[in-house]
């Protein structure tokens, strides 16, 4: 056992942390949001240049790292900085699916994803599908030419991606794992309507409506009807990414709160001198350490056999959801009114922490899934 970072990872972490400290203040984030931009394209280009996108892929895929601990490290720093650049949607989800299933031709996309020149998105969620990955009903029919009809919701980065990877059903019924395929669809495709919106936590997302969009069979990613396992794999990686991001955001919220408890004076002393608040902060610190351990657990089991990995996915996501809500609620409370203002960075961290519970399954979903996976294993 060794809980220290390798030298390479320590360097990567150090570089990324410094980059964000130097270039990514809260004011920048607020300005980008206020101007209605989905993210900062200069920051995006710099992240690609620094090799951060490459760190999310293995050497065989054209990157230089790509293990669970690399993903965790990068996303913790994104979370700590409050960055809204689309690494999750383009690299982890989009790039990850191409890397897992793509033909040699399709894999050529990866170089452009890693260089930041092109962006991908993964369109999977549908109205009412909630957190169940097999709830796909968007219809795909045809032979050489495939026609796609239906609606995809909550597509992260969907309006800024050149190419969208879309899940669709070629056989079976919604709720069946078999019969789901993936297709590479240009965002400009005829019949594809893309409506962009911002999320509560500041990310750009889109609703995609497909009214008979036609793509050639060569746009299929992987074998027909057999995409479910890859979708589950990539969801595990994405879950790790958002859990690590939540952890980074919690660290920032925690640090801001500790500073505030020392600075804010009421009743003639710093509020951090009140034992009632000291104990709350001590509890919070313990929970954040638990959150860190949960992220480590998942990162370390990302390549374990499915049964083991998925138990960790659900355990970690459940714990992060619980601790995240507690950290968000407590840090706002300990700040008083100022913690509720948009102008103050804390409210941006807490929004991200809480809304991560709504990505890839929430506390209840993963609690139930954890129990179920345990029964299957026995």
């Amino acid at each position: 056992m060794d809980f220290t970072l390798t030298e390479d990872r320590a360097m990567l972490q150090d570089m990324l942390r410094r980059f964000f400290a130097d270039t990514y203040g809260h004011e920048k984030r607020r300005a980008v949001l206020a101007e209605g931009r989905p993210f900062d394209s200069a920051v995006w280009a710099q992240l690609a240049e620094l090799g951060i996108l490459g760190a999310l892929f293995s050497e065989a895929q054209g990157g230089f790292a790509g293990a669970g601990f690399d993903i965790a490290l990068v996303f913790e720093e994104l979370g700590r900085a409050g960055a809204i650049e689309p690494l999750l949607s383009s690299a982890i989800l989009g790039g990850g699916l191409v890397a897992a299933l793509g033909t040699a031709d399709q894999q050529a996309l990866l170089a452009q994803v890693i260089s930041g020149e092109t962006r991908l998105a993964f369109a999977h969620s549908e109205p009412g599908s909630r957190y169940d990955l097999e709830n796909v009903s968007l219809n795909a029919v045809g032979g050489d030419q495939i026609t796609l009809t239906g609606t995809k919701t909550h597509v992260l980065g969907g309006a800024e991606a050149e190419t969208v990877i879309l899940s669709a059903r070629e056989a079976g019924l919604p709720g069946d794992k078999a019969g789901i395929s993936l297709f590479l669809v240009p965002r400009q495709a005829a019949g594809l309507r893309v409506e962009q919106h911002v999320t509560v936590d500041g990310f750009s997302a889109a609703t995609l409506t497909l009214d008979g969009v036609t793509v050639p069979a060569s746009a299929r990613l992987g074998a027909a009807g057999a995409a479910f396992d890859a979708i589950e794999d990539i969801t595990a990686r994405a879950t790790l990414a958002v859990c690590a991001e939540a952890l980074g955001a919690m660290e920032s919220a925690k640090a801001m709160t500790i500073t505030y408890l020392k600075e804010r004076q009421q009743f003639g002393r710093p509020i951090g001198k009140f034992q009632a608040l000291q104990h709350r902060m001590a509890d919070l610190l313990m929970e954040v350490e638990q959150a860190r351990s949960a992220v480590v657990n998942l990162a370390g089991h990302l390549d374990a056999p499915r049964a083991v990995r998925e138990r960790h996915v659900s355990a970690t996501k459940n714990l992060i959801g619980r601790v995240g809500a507690m950290v968000a609620e407590e840090t706002v409370q300990l700040h008083g009114g100022i913690g509720m203002t948009d102008e103050y960075a804390l409210s941006h961290f807490t929004r991200r922490i809480v809304m991560i519970d709504h990505l890839f399954g929430d506390v209840d979903h993963h609690l139930e899934r954890f129990i179920q996976l345990g029964l299957e294993a026995d």
Binding site: R130, Y131, T153, H154, T209, Q333, G336, G337
Partner: protein
Amino acid sequence: MDLSYTAEQQAFRAEVRAFLAEALPKRLSEKVRLGKRLNKAEIEEWHAILNARGWLAPNWPAEFGGAEWDAVERQIFEEEACLAHAPRVVPFGLMMLAPVLLAFGSEAQKRHYLPRILSGEDWWCQGYSEPGAGSDLASVKTRAVRDGDEYVVNGQKTWTTLGQYANWIFCLVRTDTDCKPQQGISFLLIDMTSPGVTVRPITLIDGEAEVNEVFFDNVRVPTENLVGTENQGWTYAKYLLTHERTNIAGVGFSNAALATLKQVAANTLSGGRPLAQNPHFAARMAQVEIDLMAMRTTNLRVVSAAAKGQAPGAESSMLKIKGTQIRQELTSLLRRATGPDAMPFLPDYLEGGDNQMSGLPDHAPTAAPSYFNMRKLSIFGGSNEIQRGIISKAILEL
């Protein structure tokens, strides 16, 4: 002990229900049902409807146009109004300033201000908090210096709810600095249209500019706007706070929120069955309902004890803490029930526009903003930590 309603109380409930069915415009109740924000005109419209019926001021004496309801009648009205999705009544004039004027104001002040609250001519806001005076309210620094028959006011208030709509503000101001902080405070009524008053909105975590900063730069206020005696403002301020806290229990709101939550949970599929049948989610819903059933009785016990002449002193702190915990848990559960659909931020919808996103249920866009907004309940009106301090000192005598 008798938990049943009398025949009169049952008749009153029927009367309230009939009134709401007839007088509450669907336009307003739909917005409230969906958690959308009401604008100034809509709030005023509802006030006027209640006023016409004589029900705008439940706790005022009849002499000034109040309904003089007892605790049970008030709870009945609140329950029915919330279940019918009636807009909330803005409390600053009706529930906060008025009790202070009734107890400590001059006859002239009562005759002048109370009718204008009812008629909607005046919209009041609360000028207590300052950047440096939050929980430690007695440390207010806004200065009022006497100059002939006027005070000259300089300083800043903050977190002023709906100050952007108000034309009057009641303020705690410092009129003496050579004494204990509590002893140099006065309670002053300030016309916000006076020269030197500036209001700057503050956007909150849910994207709404619900609160404001209010700046006073050499604002001249007639001395007749002083309530009670100079330097006795702290007494009036605390009296007001116990009223503020009682209303904060929010049992009616919680009833309505629970009804909405149950409906959403029954209509949302999760893992192939209604969310209401997910054992973990169902358990949390049941837990909060059980708490709410007890809270309803706690509220009645405390409030009716006060009605018999006992002041709802430190016990109101209990209502505040427990009531806000329940309300916060309900909004948290509704956010969770909404699932991925809670993610889009749709400010136009929140302000009253239509839901234009395909496949998005109507309750979805307000779920997360309401959850974040409701964090305020445990912060304002004396934070829940301050309330625990009050219970420890005043009830437990620790």
